[in-house]
């Protein structure tokens, strides 16, 4: 449901990167979604298409992958991989998980066409 605000934040980053790199076009964007964010790929794709209209990222390919959750148990200190419907620590059976991975959304890489290249073609 919050895919539109994620896409809007991504767009701010992409415009900044395009400016820094003197990119005239962004052709591919790679994003890693933490499992805890429960991002719906189809919804993020639609939102991405909507926010990139009339920008250098219009028509760019959005490559999405998911990162599994990793947690530290606050009760016993053990590290484990919870599931979205089961945060029980396998060592002490407490459901007191502090997530250390799988809760962020990360812009991993951007493929762009830069000014000089565009001039040559």
């Amino acid at each position: 449901m919050h895919e539109m605000s994620i896409a809007a934040d991504m767009m701010d980053q992409l415009l900044r990167i395009a400016d820094e790199q003197h990119a005239v076009r962004i052709v591919e964007v790679e994003v890693i979604c933490g499992e805890m964010q429960q991002v719906v790929p189809e919804a993020l794709q639609l939102a991405f298409e909507a926010v990139t209209v009339d920008t250098p990222a219009a028509g760019a390919t959005l490559k999405l992958s998911e990162e599994r959750m990793v947690a530290n148990c606050r009760s016993c200190g053990q590290r484990f991989e919870p599931a979205i419907d089961d945060f029980l620590c396998p060592h002490c059976s407490a459901a007191d998980a502090e997530l250390i991975a799988g809760q962020d959304i990360v812009l991993k890489s951007v493929v762009c066409e830069i000014e000089d290249e565009a001039a040559k073609t």
Binding site: H2, D9, Q21, L88, V106, K108, V110, C112
Partner: protein
């Protein structure tokens, strides 16, 4: 073509401002509680009853998030607290920049508790740090006893879970055991408080929890 490795959180701008919000409130000695639930779980009613019961020595302020209208702020206007309404328009959750703008309307040095009443929604608010110190999540009896299992991302990071409208037990079908069973897999850290702001049932436990958290913050 050029590939640029970025590796930067998309939530970075929000999180940076959330941390700044927290620093501002820490400096002023404000305890901020982000209150989240579905629409109609009783967030506003909870605050209407909580603020007077905390007493005049605990100055309270509320940031109220809604897509439209100032109705919740008007309801809370009778409480001895500063109220700022934040209309998010089409936004389905509050964000750290909106809370930052809300904080600018308050005299933080004069506040003990800041309650942030998030937009009624069980998915999106959970993903956005606002700079709060604590997360209170409400589940009301009429919503049904299956919501913890259906919305684990809301309940897992909660610091306290309030089962509201317990006066409706018997009117609607609701099994406490299901909630406790689901929470046993999702979150055993947060206390579960059964309450009804309308009848006053359980409010003493909630107020005691709030005061305990406040003492923990001020070290007194």
């Amino acid at each position: 073509m050029k590939k640029i490795n970025v590796v930067e959180s998309v939530l970075k701008a929000n999180d940076a401002l959330a941390n700044e919000n927290r620093r501002r409130m820490d400096a002023a000695g404000v305890l901020a509680v982000n209150i989240m639930s579905a629409p109609g779980s009783g967030k506003t009613m909870l605050l209407e009853k909580t603020i007077p019961l905390l007493g005049p020595e605990q100055r309270c302020a509320v940031l109220v998030g809604d897509l439209q209208t100032t109705r919740d702020a008007e309801r809370l206007g009778g409480c001895a607290a500063e109220i700022t309404q934040i209309n998010t328009g089409r936004g389905c959750h509050l964000s750290a920049p909106q809370v930052s703008a809300g904080l600018a309307t308050l005299d933080l040095n004069d506040i003990s508790f800041l309650f942030i009443e998030n937009v009624g929604n069980m998915v999106c608010p959970a993903a956005h740090d606002l700079g709060e110190h604590l997360r209170a999540v409400l589940l009301s009896v009429p919503e049904g006893d299956d919501k913890v299992a259906k919305y684990p991302t809301l309940f897992q990071p909660a610091d306290v879970i309030l089962l509201t409208k317990v006066d409706l037990i018997g009117v609607v079908d609701f099994q406490f055991e299901k909630v406790y069973e689901d929470l046993s897999r999702i979150n055993t850290r947060a206390p579960l408080i059964e309450l009804s702001p309308k009848t006053g049932q359980g409010m003493d436990r909630w107020l005691a929890w709030l005061r305990q958290q406040r003492r923990g913050q001020t070290g007194s």
